[in-house]
């Protein structure tokens, strides 16, 4: 899996490409954790899953972990590019009740204000 990080003012955009499972979730976790620890101004997280071709329950845990981390510093998380399979997994984990979903990165950033 590839993790691409883009800093846009106080918003951190994370693009995940490939498959998110137990093996790859640590890559995602560490990349976002490092970035947030390094940059105090980073507040919000936009999670682009457009190129994520697979996810299992490890994805639920990993995304929930980042949600808690961002929330603890007063920020928001938005997910965009959600494919049907990934949506089903996140729905089962109850994540779509707490994390809003946008169609793409631009509208996600717009909605963060």
């Amino acid at each position: 899996m590839q993790v691409q990080l883009i800093r846009r003012k106080k918003n951190l955009i994370v693009r995940l490409k490939g498959e998110l499972d137990h093996h790859t979730s640590t890559v995602f976790r560490q990349a976002v954790e490092n970035e947030l620890e390094k940059n105090d101004i980073m507040q919000n997280l936009v999670l682009n899953l457009e190129y994520l071709t697979f996810m299992d329950s490890s994805g639920i845990g990993a995304i929930l972990g980042r949600y808690k981390q961002v929330k603890a510093r007063g920020g928001k998380v938005i997910i965009c590019g959600l494919k049907p399979h990934n949506k089903k997994i996140l729905q089962m984990g109850g994540l779509l009740k707490i994390i809003p979903v946008s169609s793409d990165e631009n509208s996600a950033i717009l909605s963060l204000g």
Binding site: E19, D21, H22, H23, S25, R29, F54, M55, D56, S57, S58, I60, G61, A62, L64, G65, P84, H85, I89, M92, G93
Partner: protein, 144 residues
């Protein structure tokens, strides 16, 4: 009737390998993309459980048998790890004994949702086998 057998060491990089192999084997039944994703996910959950819970990231082997018959796919995933202490509790949605590892506790719930049948046999200190069945083209309740 046709079948396959696979054995891999319990290493996390094998999670993707096993689910792709089982999906390739199941593809001969002409499943929809959605059905194939469901099989991949259920296999991924079972294999991850073996690596993380049965062997607790230590050495061990995972055996995978799959069998197809008509529109039916049967999968068996064996480990010889520590076994599940309380199967009913392990099946509960959101239950995990490893929250510090960001485990969601949704593994068995996902297997049960995505497969038509999920059977768990486990004995402590000896190991666990997960038996799952999926019948393709069975998606009549797919309107949620």
């Amino acid at each position: 009737m046709n079948y396959m057998m696979l054995e891999v060491p319990a290493r996390s990089e094998n999670e993707s390998f096993v689910r792709v192999v089982v999906a390739a084997f199941a593809a001969r039944l002409d499943p929809t993309l959605e059905e194939l994703n469901e099989v991949k996910t259920a296999v991924s959950e079972a294999v991850t459980n073996s690596i993380l819970h049965a062997y607790e990231d230590d050495q061990g082997l995972i055996k995978i048998n799959a069998l197809v018959e008509n529109k039916k796919l049967m999968i068996e995933i064996y480990d010889t790890g520590k076994g599940i202490e309380d199967i009913a509790m392990a099946r509960e949605p959101l239950y995990t004994d490893k929250p510090e590892l960001e485990r969601s506790g949704m593994g068995f719930t996902i297997m049960e949702n995505f497969m038509d049948e999920v059977m768990i046999e486990s004995s402590q200190g000896k190991g666990t086998v997960i038996k799952m069945t999926k019948i393709f083209g069975n998606n009549s309740e797919n309107n949620h």
